[in-house]
Protein backbone atom coordinates (compact mmCIF):
# COMPACT_ATOMS: atom_id res chain seq x y z
CA UNK A 1 0.00 0.00 0.00
CA UNK A 2 1.54 3.24 -1.13
CA UNK A 3 1.16 5.81 1.61
CA UNK A 4 2.35 8.74 -0.48
CA UNK A 5 -0.13 8.01 -3.29
CA UNK A 6 -2.97 7.82 -0.80
CA UNK A 7 -1.99 11.08 0.88
CA UNK A 8 -1.78 12.85 -2.49
CA UNK A 9 -5.11 11.39 -3.54
CA UNK A 10 -6.68 12.54 -0.27
CA UNK A 11 -5.33 16.04 -0.69
CA UNK A 12 -6.74 16.25 -4.20
CA UNK A 13 -10.17 14.93 -3.30
CA UNK A 14 -10.43 16.92 -0.07
CA UNK A 15 -8.91 20.22 -1.11
CA UNK A 16 -8.94 20.55 -4.87
CA UNK A 17 -11.56 18.42 -6.55
CA UNK A 18 -14.10 17.91 -3.85
CA UNK A 19 -16.89 16.63 -6.10
CA UNK A 20 -15.00 13.54 -7.28
CA UNK A 21 -16.81 10.21 -7.28
CA UNK A 22 -14.81 7.28 -5.80
CA UNK A 23 -13.44 5.89 -9.06
CA UNK A 24 -13.07 9.14 -10.89
CA UNK A 25 -9.44 9.72 -10.02
CA UNK A 26 -7.25 6.74 -10.81
CA UNK A 27 -3.51 6.66 -10.26
CA UNK A 28 -3.09 7.16 -14.00
CA UNK A 29 -5.80 9.76 -14.60
CA UNK A 30 -4.31 12.77 -16.35
CA UNK A 31 -5.07 15.52 -13.84
CA UNK A 32 -4.09 18.37 -16.16
CA UNK A 33 -6.14 17.26 -19.16
CA UNK A 34 -9.16 16.56 -17.04
CA UNK A 35 -8.90 20.01 -15.51
CA UNK A 36 -8.48 18.76 -11.97
CA UNK A 37 -5.13 20.49 -11.79
CA UNK A 38 -4.85 23.97 -13.24
CA UNK A 39 -2.46 26.85 -12.79
CA UNK A 40 -4.04 27.69 -9.46
CA UNK A 41 -4.46 24.27 -7.88
CA UNK A 42 -0.97 23.30 -9.00
CA UNK A 43 0.48 25.91 -6.68
CA UNK A 44 -1.65 24.57 -3.86
CA UNK A 45 -0.46 21.05 -4.62
CA UNK A 46 3.18 22.17 -4.55
CA UNK A 47 2.62 23.86 -1.21
CA UNK A 48 1.07 20.67 0.17
CA UNK A 49 3.90 18.45 -1.13
CA UNK A 50 6.66 20.72 0.13
CA UNK A 51 5.20 21.12 3.58
CA UNK A 52 4.10 17.51 4.05
CA UNK A 53 7.28 15.87 2.79
CA UNK A 54 9.84 18.62 3.51
CA UNK A 55 10.99 18.71 -0.11
CA UNK A 56 11.52 21.43 -2.70
CA UNK A 57 9.92 21.35 -6.12
CA UNK A 58 12.00 22.90 -8.90
CA UNK A 59 10.50 25.36 -11.43
CA UNK A 60 10.70 22.94 -14.35
CA UNK A 61 8.83 20.30 -12.36
CA UNK A 62 5.62 22.34 -12.43
CA UNK A 63 4.71 20.83 -15.74
CA UNK A 64 2.90 17.98 -17.44
CA UNK A 65 6.04 15.82 -17.40
CA UNK A 66 6.18 15.65 -13.61
CA UNK A 67 2.77 16.17 -12.11
CA UNK A 68 0.16 14.93 -14.59
CA UNK A 69 -0.88 11.85 -12.61
CA UNK A 70 -0.91 10.66 -9.01
CA UNK A 71 1.72 8.08 -10.00
CA UNK A 72 3.99 10.79 -11.34
CA UNK A 73 3.50 12.99 -8.31
CA UNK A 74 4.32 10.12 -5.94
CA UNK A 75 7.43 9.31 -8.00
CA UNK A 76 8.49 12.95 -7.82
CA UNK A 77 8.15 13.01 -4.04
CA UNK A 78 10.07 9.74 -3.63
CA UNK A 79 12.87 10.97 -5.87
CA UNK A 80 13.50 13.81 -3.47
CA UNK A 81 13.46 11.99 -0.18
Amino acid sequence: MDVIKQQVRDFITQEIYVDASPDEIQDTTNLLDSGILDSLSTLRLVEFLEQTYQIKIAPHELSEDYISTINQIADLVRSKK
Binding site: G35, S39, L40, L43, V46, E47, E50, K56, P59, E64
Partner: protein, 449 residues
Protein backbone atom coordinates in the same frame (compact mmCIF):
# COMPACT_ATOMS: atom_id res chain seq x y z
CA UNK B 1 -11.23 63.76 10.17
CA UNK B 2 -7.65 64.20 11.22
CA UNK B 3 -6.33 63.90 14.70
CA UNK B 4 -7.34 60.24 14.64
CA UNK B 5 -5.01 57.92 16.47
CA UNK B 6 -3.47 55.63 13.87
CA UNK B 7 -1.20 52.96 15.23
CA UNK B 8 1.29 52.45 12.43
CA UNK B 9 3.70 49.64 13.22
CA UNK B 10 7.40 50.18 12.59
CA UNK B 11 7.93 46.83 10.98
CA UNK B 12 6.15 43.80 9.58
CA UNK B 13 6.84 40.93 7.21
CA UNK B 14 5.07 42.16 4.09
CA UNK B 15 3.81 45.58 3.05
CA UNK B 16 1.11 45.53 0.38
CA UNK B 17 0.76 48.83 -1.46
CA UNK B 18 -2.80 49.24 -2.69
CA UNK B 19 -6.18 47.95 -1.54
CA UNK B 20 -7.92 46.93 -4.75
CA UNK B 21 -8.69 43.27 -5.46
CA UNK B 22 -5.05 42.26 -6.05
CA UNK B 23 -3.78 43.96 -2.91
CA UNK B 24 -6.62 42.87 -0.64
CA UNK B 25 -6.34 39.27 -1.72
CA UNK B 26 -2.55 39.05 -1.59
CA UNK B 27 -2.70 40.40 1.95
CA UNK B 28 -5.60 38.13 2.95
CA UNK B 29 -3.98 34.94 1.68
CA UNK B 30 -0.73 35.82 3.46
CA UNK B 31 -2.53 36.57 6.73
CA UNK B 32 -4.34 33.25 6.41
CA UNK B 33 -0.95 31.57 6.18
CA UNK B 34 0.05 33.25 9.43
CA UNK B 35 2.11 36.19 8.19
CA UNK B 36 2.28 39.73 9.56
CA UNK B 37 0.94 41.94 6.78
CA UNK B 38 0.31 45.68 6.54
CA UNK B 39 -1.78 47.05 3.65
CA UNK B 40 -1.60 50.73 2.74
CA UNK B 41 -4.13 52.38 0.41
CA UNK B 42 -3.89 56.04 -0.49
CA UNK B 43 -7.65 56.42 -0.80
CA UNK B 44 -10.50 56.02 1.62
CA UNK B 45 -12.90 53.19 0.74
CA UNK B 46 -15.46 52.87 -0.68
CA UNK B 47 -13.99 54.53 -3.75
CA UNK B 48 -14.80 54.44 -7.45
CA UNK B 49 -13.03 52.19 -9.93
CA UNK B 50 -13.70 50.92 -13.46
CA UNK B 51 -13.44 47.30 -14.57
CA UNK B 52 -16.99 46.23 -13.82
CA UNK B 53 -17.45 42.91 -15.58
CA UNK B 54 -16.28 39.69 -13.91
CA UNK B 55 -16.14 36.19 -15.40
CA UNK B 56 -17.17 33.34 -13.08
CA UNK B 57 -13.58 32.23 -12.49
CA UNK B 58 -13.29 34.80 -9.74
CA UNK B 59 -15.30 32.78 -7.20
CA UNK B 60 -12.55 30.32 -6.37
CA UNK B 61 -10.36 33.22 -5.27
CA UNK B 62 -13.00 34.82 -3.10
CA UNK B 63 -13.86 31.38 -1.69
CA UNK B 64 -10.29 30.94 -0.50
CA UNK B 65 -10.35 34.40 1.03
CA UNK B 66 -13.64 33.71 2.83
CA UNK B 67 -15.36 36.61 1.08
CA UNK B 68 -17.79 34.85 -1.27
CA UNK B 69 -20.75 34.93 1.10
CA UNK B 70 -20.54 38.69 1.47
CA UNK B 71 -20.22 39.15 -2.28
CA UNK B 72 -23.27 37.01 -2.98
CA UNK B 73 -25.21 38.83 -0.26
CA UNK B 74 -24.61 42.24 -1.81
CA UNK B 75 -26.89 41.31 -4.71
CA UNK B 76 -24.71 42.31 -7.65
CA UNK B 77 -26.26 41.84 -11.07
CA UNK B 78 -25.68 38.32 -12.37
CA UNK B 79 -24.96 38.33 -16.05
CA UNK B 80 -25.71 35.45 -18.40
CA UNK B 81 -22.68 35.87 -20.62
CA UNK B 82 -21.67 38.09 -23.49
CA UNK B 83 -22.93 39.42 -26.77
CA UNK B 84 -20.22 40.30 -29.21
CA UNK B 85 -20.72 42.17 -32.45
CA UNK B 86 -17.46 41.92 -34.36
CA UNK B 87 -17.15 43.22 -37.89
CA UNK B 88 -20.82 42.61 -38.50
CA UNK B 89 -20.91 39.09 -37.08
CA UNK B 90 -22.93 38.73 -33.90
CA UNK B 91 -22.43 36.02 -31.31
CA UNK B 92 -24.14 35.61 -28.01
CA UNK B 93 -22.95 33.10 -25.45
CA UNK B 94 -23.61 32.06 -21.87
CA UNK B 95 -21.25 30.86 -19.20
CA UNK B 96 -23.61 28.06 -18.20
CA UNK B 97 -23.13 26.62 -21.65
CA UNK B 98 -19.46 26.24 -20.80
CA UNK B 99 -20.13 24.34 -17.61
CA UNK B 100 -19.80 27.20 -15.18
CA UNK B 101 -22.19 26.68 -12.31
CA UNK B 102 -21.74 29.97 -10.53
CA UNK B 103 -22.71 33.34 -11.92
CA UNK B 104 -20.67 35.96 -13.69
CA UNK B 105 -21.27 39.43 -12.27
CA UNK B 106 -21.49 43.06 -13.19
CA UNK B 107 -20.10 44.86 -10.16
CA UNK B 108 -19.99 48.38 -8.82
CA UNK B 109 -16.31 48.37 -7.99
CA UNK B 110 -16.64 50.69 -5.00
CA UNK B 111 -18.77 48.09 -3.26
CA UNK B 112 -16.93 45.03 -4.52
CA UNK B 113 -13.49 46.31 -3.61
CA UNK B 114 -14.73 47.51 -0.24
CA UNK B 115 -16.03 44.04 0.59
CA UNK B 116 -12.62 42.54 -0.19
CA UNK B 117 -10.78 45.18 1.82
CA UNK B 118 -12.99 44.78 4.89
CA UNK B 119 -12.60 41.04 4.56
CA UNK B 120 -8.82 41.48 4.61
CA UNK B 121 -9.13 43.41 7.89
CA UNK B 122 -11.30 40.68 9.31
CA UNK B 123 -8.72 38.07 8.38
CA UNK B 124 -5.99 39.88 10.31
CA UNK B 125 -4.42 42.23 7.79
CA UNK B 126 -3.50 45.63 9.28
CA UNK B 127 -5.19 47.97 6.81
CA UNK B 128 -4.46 51.70 6.73
CA UNK B 129 -6.42 53.89 4.35
CA UNK B 130 -5.59 57.43 3.24
CA UNK B 131 -1.99 56.36 3.45
CA UNK B 132 0.09 56.87 0.36
CA UNK B 133 3.45 55.36 -0.36
CA UNK B 134 6.07 57.76 -1.67
CA UNK B 135 9.20 55.70 -2.18
CA UNK B 136 10.71 52.47 -0.93
CA UNK B 137 14.32 52.19 0.11
CA UNK B 138 15.84 49.03 -1.37
CA UNK B 139 19.44 49.76 -0.37
CA UNK B 140 19.36 46.57 1.63
CA UNK B 141 17.05 44.49 -0.57
CA UNK B 142 16.58 41.92 2.20
CA UNK B 143 15.09 44.64 4.40
CA UNK B 144 13.18 47.19 2.34
CA UNK B 145 11.84 50.30 4.07
CA UNK B 146 8.60 51.82 2.82
CA UNK B 147 8.13 55.59 3.22
CA UNK B 148 4.46 56.47 3.66
CA UNK B 149 2.34 59.45 4.50
CA UNK B 150 -1.02 59.36 6.28
CA UNK B 151 -3.30 62.28 5.29
CA UNK B 152 -1.17 65.39 5.82
CA UNK B 153 0.87 64.06 8.68
CA UNK B 154 4.67 63.76 8.62
CA UNK B 155 6.06 60.85 6.67
CA UNK B 156 6.68 57.53 8.39
CA UNK B 157 8.88 54.51 7.79
CA UNK B 158 7.81 50.88 7.71
CA UNK B 159 10.47 48.16 7.56
CA UNK B 160 9.62 44.77 6.08
CA UNK B 161 10.96 41.74 4.22
CA UNK B 162 8.95 42.26 1.05
CA UNK B 163 6.93 44.96 -0.65
CA UNK B 164 4.04 44.02 -2.91
CA UNK B 165 3.13 46.59 -5.54
CA UNK B 166 -0.64 46.33 -5.87
CA UNK B 167 -1.06 50.01 -6.69
CA UNK B 168 -2.73 49.42 -10.04
CA UNK B 169 -2.13 51.80 -12.89
CA UNK B 170 -0.04 54.01 -10.59
CA UNK B 171 2.44 51.14 -10.26
CA UNK B 172 4.41 53.11 -7.67
CA UNK B 173 7.08 50.53 -6.95
CA UNK B 174 7.38 49.30 -10.54
CA UNK B 175 7.88 52.88 -11.69
CA UNK B 176 10.39 53.63 -8.99
CA UNK B 177 12.40 50.59 -10.03
CA UNK B 178 12.18 51.52 -13.69
CA UNK B 179 10.38 48.32 -14.58
CA UNK B 180 7.38 49.79 -16.27
CA UNK B 181 7.65 50.07 -20.02
CA UNK B 182 5.19 51.07 -22.68
CA UNK B 183 3.84 48.14 -24.60
CA UNK B 184 4.64 49.20 -28.13
CA UNK B 185 2.51 46.51 -29.71
CA UNK B 186 -0.52 47.92 -28.11
CA UNK B 187 -1.22 51.57 -28.30
CA UNK B 188 -4.68 52.20 -26.90
CA UNK B 189 -6.51 54.66 -24.72
CA UNK B 190 -9.91 54.42 -23.12
CA UNK B 191 -12.78 56.84 -22.53
CA UNK B 192 -15.96 55.90 -20.72
CA UNK B 193 -19.00 57.30 -18.95
CA UNK B 194 -22.34 56.43 -17.35
CA UNK B 195 -26.02 56.53 -18.26
CA UNK B 196 -29.21 55.99 -16.32
CA UNK B 197 -32.09 53.89 -17.71
CA UNK B 198 -30.24 52.29 -20.57
CA UNK B 199 -31.66 49.20 -22.16
CA UNK B 200 -29.49 46.10 -22.31
CA UNK B 201 -29.07 42.98 -24.44
CA UNK B 202 -29.97 39.57 -23.06
CA UNK B 203 -28.73 36.18 -24.30
CA UNK B 204 -30.18 35.62 -27.76
CA UNK B 205 -29.76 39.20 -28.85
CA UNK B 206 -32.95 40.88 -27.63
CA UNK B 207 -32.88 44.29 -26.03
CA UNK B 208 -34.72 44.77 -22.73
CA UNK B 209 -35.55 47.58 -20.37
CA UNK B 210 -33.91 47.50 -16.92
CA UNK B 211 -37.12 46.32 -15.26
CA UNK B 212 -36.66 42.93 -16.96
CA UNK B 213 -33.30 42.27 -15.33
CA UNK B 214 -34.36 39.51 -12.99
CA UNK B 215 -36.28 37.59 -15.67
CA UNK B 216 -33.89 38.14 -18.56
CA UNK B 217 -30.33 38.33 -17.27
CA UNK B 218 -28.11 40.73 -19.18
CA UNK B 219 -25.05 40.08 -21.25
CA UNK B 220 -22.02 42.31 -21.47
CA UNK B 221 -22.27 43.84 -24.91
CA UNK B 222 -19.01 44.31 -26.81
CA UNK B 223 -18.78 45.73 -30.30
CA UNK B 224 -15.96 46.41 -32.71
CA UNK B 225 -15.64 49.90 -34.11
CA UNK B 226 -14.89 50.50 -37.75
CA UNK B 227 -14.55 47.80 -40.38
CA UNK B 228 -11.19 46.28 -39.76
CA UNK B 229 -11.62 45.23 -36.15
CA UNK B 230 -8.55 47.28 -35.34
CA UNK B 231 -10.16 50.65 -34.74
CA UNK B 232 -11.03 49.71 -31.20
CA UNK B 233 -14.15 48.43 -29.49
CA UNK B 234 -16.90 49.44 -27.09
CA UNK B 235 -18.43 47.95 -23.95
CA UNK B 236 -21.89 48.21 -22.40
CA UNK B 237 -22.22 46.94 -18.84
CA UNK B 238 -25.49 47.40 -17.01
CA UNK B 239 -25.22 47.95 -13.24
CA UNK B 240 -27.91 48.35 -10.60
CA UNK B 241 -28.17 52.11 -10.72
CA UNK B 242 -26.39 53.14 -13.91
CA UNK B 243 -24.90 51.59 -17.03
CA UNK B 244 -21.20 51.75 -17.81
CA UNK B 245 -20.44 52.47 -21.47
CA UNK B 246 -16.88 52.71 -22.70
CA UNK B 247 -14.56 52.82 -25.68
CA UNK B 248 -11.11 51.46 -26.25
CA UNK B 249 -9.55 53.44 -29.07
CA UNK B 250 -6.26 53.77 -30.87
CA UNK B 251 -4.10 56.25 -29.06
CA UNK B 252 -4.07 58.60 -32.05
CA UNK B 253 -7.59 59.59 -31.05
CA UNK B 254 -6.09 61.54 -28.18
CA UNK B 255 -4.78 64.06 -30.64
CA UNK B 256 -8.15 64.74 -32.20
CA UNK B 257 -9.74 65.97 -28.96
CA UNK B 258 -8.93 69.18 -27.10
CA UNK B 259 -7.66 68.64 -23.57
CA UNK B 260 -10.72 69.81 -21.67
CA UNK B 261 -13.33 67.85 -19.72
CA UNK B 262 -16.00 69.39 -21.84
CA UNK B 263 -14.37 68.34 -25.07
CA UNK B 264 -14.00 64.79 -23.82
CA UNK B 265 -17.59 64.67 -22.69
CA UNK B 266 -18.78 65.79 -26.11
CA UNK B 267 -16.48 63.30 -27.80
CA UNK B 268 -17.78 60.47 -25.64
CA UNK B 269 -21.44 61.26 -26.19
CA UNK B 270 -20.84 61.60 -29.93
CA UNK B 271 -19.12 58.21 -30.03
CA UNK B 272 -22.16 56.68 -28.31
CA UNK B 273 -24.43 58.24 -30.90
CA UNK B 274 -22.28 57.01 -33.77
CA UNK B 275 -22.53 53.39 -32.67
CA UNK B 276 -25.72 51.96 -34.22
CA UNK B 277 -26.42 49.55 -31.36
CA UNK B 278 -25.40 51.76 -28.46
CA UNK B 279 -27.42 54.57 -29.90
CA UNK B 280 -30.53 52.41 -29.81
CA UNK B 281 -29.84 51.01 -26.35
CA UNK B 282 -29.37 54.54 -25.03
CA UNK B 283 -32.45 56.01 -26.76
CA UNK B 284 -34.33 56.60 -23.53
CA UNK B 285 -31.31 56.84 -21.28
CA UNK B 286 -29.95 59.98 -19.63
CA UNK B 287 -26.26 60.73 -19.51
CA UNK B 288 -24.87 61.19 -16.00
CA UNK B 289 -23.17 64.63 -16.02
CA UNK B 290 -19.46 64.75 -15.20
CA UNK B 291 -19.20 60.98 -15.42
CA UNK B 292 -16.72 60.81 -18.28
CA UNK B 293 -13.26 59.52 -17.45
CA UNK B 294 -10.29 58.53 -19.47
CA UNK B 295 -7.03 56.71 -19.37
CA UNK B 296 -4.61 58.12 -21.86
CA UNK B 297 -2.41 55.12 -22.28
CA UNK B 298 -2.90 51.91 -20.44
CA UNK B 299 -0.80 49.79 -22.72
CA UNK B 300 2.19 48.98 -20.65
CA UNK B 301 3.85 46.04 -19.01
CA UNK B 302 6.57 45.41 -16.51
CA UNK B 303 9.85 43.91 -17.57
CA UNK B 304 10.16 42.00 -14.35
CA UNK B 305 7.44 40.85 -11.94
CA UNK B 306 9.51 40.00 -8.87
CA UNK B 307 12.99 40.67 -7.57
CA UNK B 308 14.97 41.27 -4.39
CA UNK B 309 12.50 42.57 -1.85
CA UNK B 310 9.49 43.03 -4.15
CA UNK B 311 6.62 41.48 -6.08
CA UNK B 312 4.21 43.07 -8.55
CA UNK B 313 0.56 42.02 -8.74
CA UNK B 314 -2.60 43.13 -10.52
CA UNK B 315 -2.47 46.03 -12.95
CA UNK B 316 0.89 47.11 -11.53
CA UNK B 317 2.35 43.95 -13.05
CA UNK B 318 0.84 44.77 -16.39
CA UNK B 319 -2.46 45.56 -17.98
CA UNK B 320 -3.90 44.15 -21.14
CA UNK B 321 -6.91 45.19 -23.13
CA UNK B 322 -9.99 44.48 -20.99
CA UNK B 323 -11.99 43.12 -23.88
CA UNK B 324 -12.82 39.80 -22.27
CA UNK B 325 -13.22 40.94 -18.71
CA UNK B 326 -10.22 39.00 -17.53
CA UNK B 327 -8.44 41.85 -15.74
CA UNK B 328 -9.85 41.34 -12.28
CA UNK B 329 -9.53 37.55 -12.42
CA UNK B 330 -5.96 37.86 -13.66
CA UNK B 331 -5.29 40.22 -10.76
CA UNK B 332 -6.74 37.67 -8.35
CA UNK B 333 -4.59 34.91 -9.80
CA UNK B 334 -1.52 37.09 -9.42
CA UNK B 335 -2.50 37.68 -5.79
CA UNK B 336 -2.74 33.97 -5.12
CA UNK B 337 0.52 33.21 -6.87
CA UNK B 338 2.29 36.06 -5.07
CA UNK B 339 1.02 34.92 -1.67
CA UNK B 340 2.15 31.39 -2.45
CA UNK B 341 5.57 32.66 -3.48
CA UNK B 342 5.94 35.08 -0.58
CA UNK B 343 5.04 32.38 1.91
CA UNK B 344 7.71 30.15 0.36
CA UNK B 345 10.32 32.93 0.36
CA UNK B 346 9.61 33.91 3.96
CA UNK B 347 9.81 30.34 5.22
CA UNK B 348 12.93 29.53 3.19
CA UNK B 349 14.83 32.67 2.17
CA UNK B 350 17.37 30.53 0.33
CA UNK B 351 14.70 29.54 -2.18
CA UNK B 352 13.74 33.13 -3.06
CA UNK B 353 15.35 33.30 -6.49
CA UNK B 354 13.86 30.04 -7.64
CA UNK B 355 10.47 30.80 -6.12
CA UNK B 356 10.30 34.15 -7.82
CA UNK B 357 11.21 32.45 -11.07
CA UNK B 358 8.20 30.16 -10.72
CA UNK B 359 5.98 33.13 -9.90
CA UNK B 360 7.21 35.10 -12.87
CA UNK B 361 6.85 32.15 -15.23
CA UNK B 362 3.29 31.43 -14.12
CA UNK B 363 2.11 35.03 -14.22
CA UNK B 364 3.78 36.04 -17.44
CA UNK B 365 2.31 32.97 -19.12
CA UNK B 366 -1.15 34.16 -18.21
CA UNK B 367 -0.41 37.70 -19.29
CA UNK B 368 0.68 36.35 -22.65
CA UNK B 369 -2.57 34.47 -23.11
CA UNK B 370 -4.48 37.67 -22.45
CA UNK B 371 -2.29 39.58 -24.89
CA UNK B 372 -2.75 37.03 -27.62
CA UNK B 373 -6.50 37.31 -27.30
CA UNK B 374 -6.42 41.07 -27.40
CA UNK B 375 -3.79 41.96 -29.94
CA UNK B 376 -4.74 42.29 -33.59
CA UNK B 377 -1.51 40.77 -34.78
CA UNK B 378 0.31 38.93 -32.12
CA UNK B 379 4.02 38.74 -32.50
CA UNK B 380 6.29 37.64 -29.80
CA UNK B 381 9.64 36.09 -29.22
CA UNK B 382 9.76 32.35 -28.73
CA UNK B 383 10.51 32.42 -25.02
CA UNK B 384 7.39 34.32 -24.26
CA UNK B 385 5.07 32.16 -26.30
CA UNK B 386 6.55 29.05 -24.67
CA UNK B 387 5.34 30.42 -21.35
CA UNK B 388 1.92 31.06 -22.82
CA UNK B 389 1.72 27.59 -24.34
CA UNK B 390 2.65 26.04 -21.05
CA UNK B 391 0.10 28.19 -19.24
CA UNK B 392 -2.71 27.26 -21.61
CA UNK B 393 -2.00 23.56 -21.21
CA UNK B 394 -2.41 24.00 -17.49
CA UNK B 395 -5.93 25.35 -17.75
CA UNK B 396 -9.20 23.54 -17.17
CA UNK B 397 -11.28 22.51 -20.11
CA UNK B 398 -13.94 25.17 -19.33
CA UNK B 399 -11.39 27.95 -19.33
CA UNK B 400 -9.78 26.65 -22.53
CA UNK B 401 -13.15 26.51 -24.24
CA UNK B 402 -13.86 30.05 -23.18
CA UNK B 403 -10.54 31.21 -24.53
CA UNK B 404 -11.26 29.38 -27.75
CA UNK B 405 -14.54 31.20 -28.00
CA UNK B 406 -12.93 34.51 -27.23
CA UNK B 407 -10.34 34.04 -29.88
CA UNK B 408 -12.93 33.04 -32.46
CA UNK B 409 -15.13 35.98 -31.71
CA UNK B 410 -12.50 38.52 -32.41
CA UNK B 411 -10.57 36.83 -35.15
CA UNK B 412 -7.56 36.27 -32.96
CA UNK B 413 -8.03 32.56 -33.36
CA UNK B 414 -4.85 32.07 -35.38
CA UNK B 415 -2.85 33.44 -32.48
CA UNK B 416 -4.64 31.20 -30.09
CA UNK B 417 -4.47 28.01 -32.09
CA UNK B 418 -0.78 28.61 -32.57
CA UNK B 419 -0.31 28.78 -28.87
CA UNK B 420 -2.79 26.17 -27.80
CA UNK B 421 -1.56 23.43 -30.07
CA UNK B 422 -3.47 20.30 -30.87
CA UNK B 423 -6.88 19.35 -29.61
CA UNK B 424 -8.29 22.78 -30.22
CA UNK B 425 -10.83 24.42 -32.40
CA UNK B 426 -13.61 22.19 -31.13
CA UNK B 427 -17.00 23.14 -32.47
CA UNK B 428 -18.85 25.23 -29.94
CA UNK B 429 -22.37 23.99 -29.15
CA UNK B 430 -25.60 25.96 -29.39
CA UNK B 431 -25.69 26.15 -25.60
CA UNK B 432 -22.35 27.81 -25.58
CA UNK B 433 -22.70 30.20 -28.42
CA UNK B 434 -25.29 31.28 -30.91
CA UNK B 435 -24.50 33.17 -34.06
CA UNK B 436 -27.36 35.48 -34.87
CA UNK B 437 -28.13 37.56 -37.90
CA UNK B 438 -28.98 40.69 -36.08
CA UNK B 439 -29.83 42.06 -32.70
CA UNK B 440 -33.49 42.57 -31.90
CA UNK B 441 -33.35 46.09 -30.62
CA UNK B 442 -37.10 46.66 -30.77
CA UNK B 443 -37.96 43.85 -28.36
CA UNK B 444 -38.93 45.37 -25.06
CA UNK B 445 -40.89 43.02 -22.88
CA UNK B 446 -40.31 39.43 -21.83
CA UNK B 447 -42.74 36.94 -23.32
CA UNK B 448 -45.78 36.18 -21.14
CA UNK B 449 -46.26 32.87 -19.31
Amino acid sequence: MGGEEMNFPEKCEVVVVGGGPAGSLTATYLAQKGHDVVLLDKQKHPRYNVGESLIPDFWKYTDMAGASGKILADGFIQKAGGTVSWKGRINTHTFRGFGYKRPALHVERDRFDHILLENAREKGVKVFEETGVTTTNFDDPGNPVVHYRYQDQPAGDLACKYVVDASGQSAVVARQLGLRVVDEAFRFMSVWGYFKDSRYIAFGGKAHRPKDLSQAPPTTFVSSLGDSGEAGWSWHIILRDVTSVGFVLPIEMMKSVRETDEAWEKFFVRKCQQSPVLNRLLEQATFVPDSVRLIRDYSYRSTRLAGPGYFLVGDAAGFVDPIFSVGVVLAMYSAYAAAWALDRCLRDPGSATETQEIFQWQLQGRHEIARSLALPRYQTDDGVSERAKSAIRMEKRTVKDLMNLASTLTSRSENFKDMAGDGFGRELTGEQMIIIDKLDLDWEDTAPG
